[in-house]
Amino acid sequence: MHARARWFGVAAVCVLAYPVLAAAPQNDWTWALPAGFPEPKVPAGNPMSVAKVELGRHLFYDARLSVTGRFSCASCHKQELAFTDGLARSVGATGELHPRSSMSLANIAYSPALTWANPTQRDLERQATVPMFGEDPIELGLSGRERELFATVSADPQYRALFARAFPGESGVVNLSTITRALGAFQRSLISGNSPYDRYKAGARNAISASAVRGEALFFDEKTECFHCHGGFTFTGTVDHVGKGFPEVEFHNTGLYNIDGKGGYPAPNTGVHEVSEDPDDMGRFKAPTLRNIAVTAPYMHDGSIATLEEVLDHYAAGGRTVKSGPNAGVGADNPYKSEFLKGFTLTAREKSDLIAFLRSLTDSTFLTDRRYANPWPATHAARGNAQPRGTR
């Protein structure tokens, strides 16, 4: 009887406490989604809120989140380039060359697999620990510096207000969980669906050129097979959203390399194989979104193709032949190559039509939307203008 009485006591406390927690302004987020875009899936532990997205934006652009104080997430993910960096391979805070090219963050909320070829990276919160703390390669270079990071963030009066509003139920605490949840919320807010092609699909028949219309037909044709890996509203086969039932995660070998005649890709960029160590995963990479593709050159996981025209040449050939050097080989003969890389021929006009279609996927409002821009004043230390630590 005594134990039962105590249980009632606990229940009463919970009932009393609940309205206090529920009063926090947490459910104020509304998705302003383009036509045809379903609602993104959001982790149960990180519901969207206006304040959290705003905090995440400040963190995303804060150069103090790096070992040098001069480098931020935005250093490799620039808004005007659809959150890529224009480099073949990215360069980290300490100058280390990354093996791979920066990926666009447009519509990342719909991607159930993150980065180029890592099936273990499924949510943005945990993925953030890779660029923050990774050492091979060094990106932001914060490994072993979490205490300094929390101290810097906690000491900023603006962050005190931002964290308090974003995490009222946790007293605005600054820790790795709140930092990564805010970064995740901001990245999920990066929705791109207002390209000329979207306006065309919505009924504005003159939003894209006649050439782009012909290119659209080619893109969705079995001749080119483009849409098999770049299908759907995100133009990538790796997609998930509310109501979908289950996520789809696809990795493809597109015959870019064949360095040993047995399908080998040059290390360390062996694709999913690098993580799984399964020989069948050699050269398998995620198909990136084609939204804003005209502004995200150079292309492929290692930036090894400079232009969209050359990308089409690669697919038309059913794989790339590297004639000389350490990566020489006939990619078209790669035994792990996707069944959709069967090659095709295009006339000059068809090629320019396809390019016109791809260019119609550029959403200029996304590239300039002030909600996604750097919120820090030009002279603020978060801009990374300060001298590097340890020097004068």
Binding site: P119, R126, V130, G134, R145, E146, P266
Partner: protein, 235 residues
Amino acid sequence: VTLVDAAGARVPVTLDVTEPWQDGQVAMLDFEDATGACSNGTPDVRHQLTGTIPEGAAGAWQQLEFTLGVPFDRNHGDPTVQPSPLSQTRLFWSWNAGYKFMRVDMRATPAGSDTAAPKSWVIHLGSTGCTPSGGASVVPTACANPNRARIVLRSLDPLHDVIAVDLGALLAESDLLVNTEKTAAGCMSAGTDPDCGPLFGSLGLTHPSGPATPVQKLFRVQRRDVTSASGSAPR
């Protein structure tokens, strides 16, 4: 951590909760003190595990066992919320969705040379080949190579012995001036990296480039030296 008495009875050791070193399940040992090649390290060091055994269990111990590694669920738990030592970002191994079980960062120069530029040679031990089997799974459901080393130390006298961590024995068959081309500098646990073979062998782990019957050599029992403070058995 488990103690085995003379009759073969196994007695689990309950690890203390001692921030930041132990959380009751996982313990961290720390031998670098931010000097030398470890200038990015921390001055704090930790040379011991502490824990308890049930009252009355004290007896004639013959064997001590422990696992060098992080239990599967904890290894793939959320690193943004786990308590220390699993909040230590130096041990994050996020691209492999887990933690480094052991990290040894070294720089090597040829013997007798004062001028040669030191070469980096690091050991990052952890589970590899970890992939989700279900589409919706956030955490890996299996690792092809768990790489958790079960260490069994026999002929242990807890009152008079200590456990030595012998880096020289671990590296005895490795040439730190040589790194296989197009692999990590040293060994980052890749099955495709031949530099890992002898190291894994000396940890008692199998590896495609390692010995067929690996025998761990990193940990050994030695008589307590009155001047030594390099470790102690669980009390």
